[in-house]
Symmetry: T
Subunit: 143 residues, 12 copies
């Protein structure tokens, strides 16, 4: 049974709890439940983590005892600044799908470039929680 690591980047633990007018009412818990349902149907195992620390994301990707066959990541704010996560993805060699809830190309200029897209297999962005669903389906198809 294939194993997939799901990483939620900084501030995503607040999803659905604060400012629902902006970020929607879906919580991270609900997104995770959806992802686990798909995993069950598609017969893959998920490990799901949320962390606000850039270096811990690097740890999660590179220090796992049992190598994962796929990585689903929403790098959030680190999308735009982290060369370290980019390097971790390359160094680990794990096939990666990048997802974003919002359309980062509709936002401030400093958000309109992704250091992660260039090392991901593919990217899904702008569909809200649905971005995760599409991203996971695509990742399972790839691996």
């Amino acid at each position: 049974m294939k194993k997939i690591l799901v990483i939620h980047g900084p501030n995503l633990h607040l999803l659905g709890k604060r400012q629902p007018a902006i970020y929607g009412k879906t919580t991270l818990k609900q997104i995770n439940a959806e992802l686990l349902k798909i995993a069950k149907r598609r017969k893959v195992a998920l490990t799901i983590k949320q962390t606000n620390v850039e270096g811990e994301i690097v740890n999660l990707i590179t220090k796992n005892k049992h190598r994962y066959q796929g990585l689903l990541i929403n790098p959030a704010a680190y999308t735009h600044t982290s060369v370290a996560i980019r390097d971790a993805i390359v160094a680990s060699g794990i096939p990666t799908v990048e997802v974003h809830l919002s359309n980062i190309y509709m936002r401030e200029e400093f958000r309109q470039k992704s250091l992660i897209s260039g090392v991901a297999k593919g990217t899904v962005l702008g569909f809200g929680p649905k971005s995760y669903i599409l991203g996971l389906e695509a990742l399972i198809d790839i691996i």
Copy 2:
């Protein structure tokens, strides 16, 4: 029954026919067949067009007699240069999903910006023909 317009931008008619080592062996015909299968299952009607002319894409989006409820577009080379297609999407008011076969953020610098992403609901890129499948599913969910 909802109607969706699918537009393949410039040079995509060559897909799978030339340089299969680079672009894969899947032809546009095969992609279209896949899209029609999904459309049938999800009970939406598809109109599929390919054109190499920027202005004809504008025509397709804005001059259709019967208004579409959704637009699935791979703007290809016009992604990076066409303000006219961007304006057409905004002016038509049709919910739009942008797809790309390749990861444009892995390619030449002049391809690393999309004039379309900022007016699309969401974007799927980098999964090859699978980008279309994911994009259509997401579009049907939205509309």
Copy 3:
């Protein structure tokens, strides 16, 4: 009797039909009627065209059988990207007035430069449909 060519660029056929809250309720037909009234009063002949295709605008400017004495053009989205229309205006040698409904210098950065202004006699922008009226009056005075 002097002849003037009026060209409406991409997406302008939608004027007044969609999103009136943003673009106003005046249709292109109404603007054209206004222009023809002025033409009658000032005793010039108008040929009015709308097209979404960049190359057709080049054709209109350079392939007309009977040379025009003036060109009134709203290049819309092509304002910012078309070297070809710029070259056509220069090559045809027809005195040209550029008009814009909106103030392009209040909008997105990629709209804040015009490739056409540098080869037009003058520019009128930001007055809505009134921009056309002022532009035509100025053009007739020049030619």
Copy 4:
């Protein structure tokens, strides 16, 4: 009876007096006479000022005892450098039309951006003294 303030920016007092080969033979006095004729016909009152001092333009716009209903301004060299005049127009709340004798987008690069266009209702440029006439007509229509 509506009141309109007309401001001629720096160096415009020299118009028609020096280097007529470049700037034409029309003097500022003649332009003002033309403007007053239109004002009479359209039944508005004009106050016309010329000054070379940036801060005095700010004073004229913001310190007038009797509020004006419209502002017609050729900011000349301050077009490209004056945040203060831009702020004065916004703070005063007076509908403003910006005019230029020459086509500033045909000149040196440091002239190819206007800090004023973004806060004016509209802009007329490139028609020589005729730019003022068109600008005043448009301003009267707006207010």
Copy 5:
């Protein structure tokens, strides 16, 4: 008794009189009253000036008969464009505190750099009229 010069830059005389929705209802007079109260308590003398002319600000800083021991300045629009005021502050050698009502780093890009910050002892910005109060307190502590 120490003397402090307070300079309000261009357009600040309008404060609280126009567009209260944006700029608040506090007038410059009220701010000045607040400043004078602090001055009394802290036993310093204030000279308060408002001018819209860049060169007059230079005059105020460099031509005062009696040298001031401190300068509290809101350079407003000249913040972003005036090398002359910057040079005046350096040449006068008077310890300077820069204040802004609004957070200039939340506004248009051309406002997101200050030529004055680099020669001021410190800067207080974004607190509305309160910025002046904090700035004056800090200035008195320094001198």
Copy 6:
């Protein structure tokens, strides 16, 4: 009783201990004592933290059990690079005041932009330890 979170960013634990010629002799402990004195007088509760880890700052802002009514932050080196802290401040919705000991606009170019200023209520910079005092007073006034 209102609660305020005070965060000292990376390297600030060294304050006053090393290179006093450059950074002054005031230690972080002394600054904290000053802040607590003000808090007592103004009747607010302070929680004071220092950390060198970007993600821990995000944790402090977003994971506190009892929501704070205000945030006083010196983001130090992260001022210029952390989109994650910027997002945390926005997502938490806590009114924030940014302080800096030095005038960052007098230093290296890469320090002359703040990602935090755009989401803070206000900023106080350049007054040394006094920046904290002014910042806290302003923050208490706001909340």
Copy 7:
């Protein structure tokens, strides 16, 4: 017998007809006659097209029934803006020579970069009609 496609881009149909002072008196017809003479001598077949529409150039390159062995193209204004023509050349795999009548590096800055040069075998520019002659000779040698 090898087949070569010759494409003249936008506005080149006007060659020699208007503004001979600038563009010379040689017409496109005369250039084509010269090219056909060379073709006869070198025993290759030429298909010669002129079009003002970017997408039609893409069509010509990619939709020809009988594959050409070489492409001689003067992309004119599209040289600087067309990613679509660049992609068409790459996708078709036809060896390509780019020619320009004028020296584009002596002209406006926006003309001083070619999107086509990077995918052409070679480029000949600045020799007027002679550029075509040299380009065709070189192309025949290559194929």
Copy 8:
């Protein structure tokens, strides 16, 4: 007898009075005395002005009753920001020599470009008060 206008720009009235360590001990009065001595020897008349107001410099250049045959100007801080003074020099048609006490190309980056050099006959910079002497000699030779 030829007349020359000498303009000292903003802050130059402080020369030699403050911060002699940086600016030297020579006062503006002494420089003027030197210039008058040369004028006497070379038999030209000098009019010498110092002002801190940009617009007054424009006035001096363009509003003088008796036209000058030459202009010697140290635009100081306005060197880098004043399009208005540049335009005044061009519009007046007076042969102009630009001088600077310091080497502006050794200072901050925003000082390393001169809007005036491009319209002056020549420039002398970096020699302290001697720059004026050399500049006046050169100007008298030219006119």
Copy 9:
């Protein structure tokens, strides 16, 4: 006996374990063994750390109980983004040598600038594991 701190930045724990074709077969353990051999011969004590967390690197440099006399650091991905590590090196005052396995100036553009070089005594790059050896020898010579 002098003490030197050796810090290996993010992803370096994977060295020699994955993708040996790219990164070589030498493991971090082997590099460390080499460094310890040199330390023994040169009679200095080494403390060797690897961490993926930016803030922990700051902690290592600034929070060590016993001050080190030298720092040998391969900041890896943080080379290009970490102002915090730069500040830590300056604040600690420890003489520092920066090393890189690869030649960062042969790689992607965002890697072609180092925030650390400007505060290090010297840099050794591009020699693979040998970079560490050379760097340590140089550091011991310096301290």
Copy 10:
């Protein structure tokens, strides 16, 4: 009989001798033989030089006793950096053709601009040794 100077810039003496896989097997000697054959047929005299020193290229162009009627130059690396060679071509007034073996617009960014193209009559690039042949033919036609 007309005289043409042929200059081969830096490193071209290595042509065909080293790294034939990249640069081809044709030596400079062979290219020169080809050029001399053409010269014989076209009845012009050639002087052929190779030098690695920028200033010697300037000498060759400007210090020849007998003025040449044409210059064929491959400036190689100096293409991108030498204002001196550009000035030499302009000052000598000799009609010049620039050639390059490779397509410089396919290479590193710092090679994608030519200081020479702007002063040459025309440029031929990308055809390998054939570029010289075409360039010489074109040059002879011009002079």
Copy 11:
């Protein structure tokens, strides 16, 4: 008796011989004669050199047996590109005056920056041959 080295940079040997319409009719020989006359009157010795080779200029400045007390240099084309000459001036420690015949700030953009100005005592530019005269006088005053 003090010794001054005069260096004329690349292409200046052509002065007055070619294109007199542009560069004037004064030859380098005549300029040198003028300089020698001044030298005689002012009692300094001149060594005058012209060379087109950048490295020879470095040699002249740094390898002279008898140290010069002053350097008068017109670096011509090397003004804009030579870090080596800049370093030579600094390393030699000889007081240097930079002169230019033309006003380099009126010419192409790549000429509008001088690498030499930043290390020269002063610069004289735009006065034609007179620039040398003024420069030498100033240099003698300094040394």
Copy 12:
């Protein structure tokens, strides 16, 4: 026995002779003696050259009769401007180590990029004369 070429770039012949406060007291002669000692111990032959002429460095690298097995180069000022030396290193195919006495990333911005680093095996910088020692040791290890 392997042969290594050592090249000292422009101005390095002055090392230790002038401005010892800045550049140290070690002369080039002393550095060369150190290098020869290492060469003796490591059993390689050294050829050591210093030149100020860019093209002579190209000659040294590419025209040596007996091919060298390694190149140790301090390109000094040419580091930042010489494409020709870069090309020479690539064309010669000799393994190269680049050294710098100072840390070029601590100096002026135009020195903060090396055209040589991208084609060298490795770089050692900032250790003064010690940079040469480390560089030679590394080079011998490589070859």
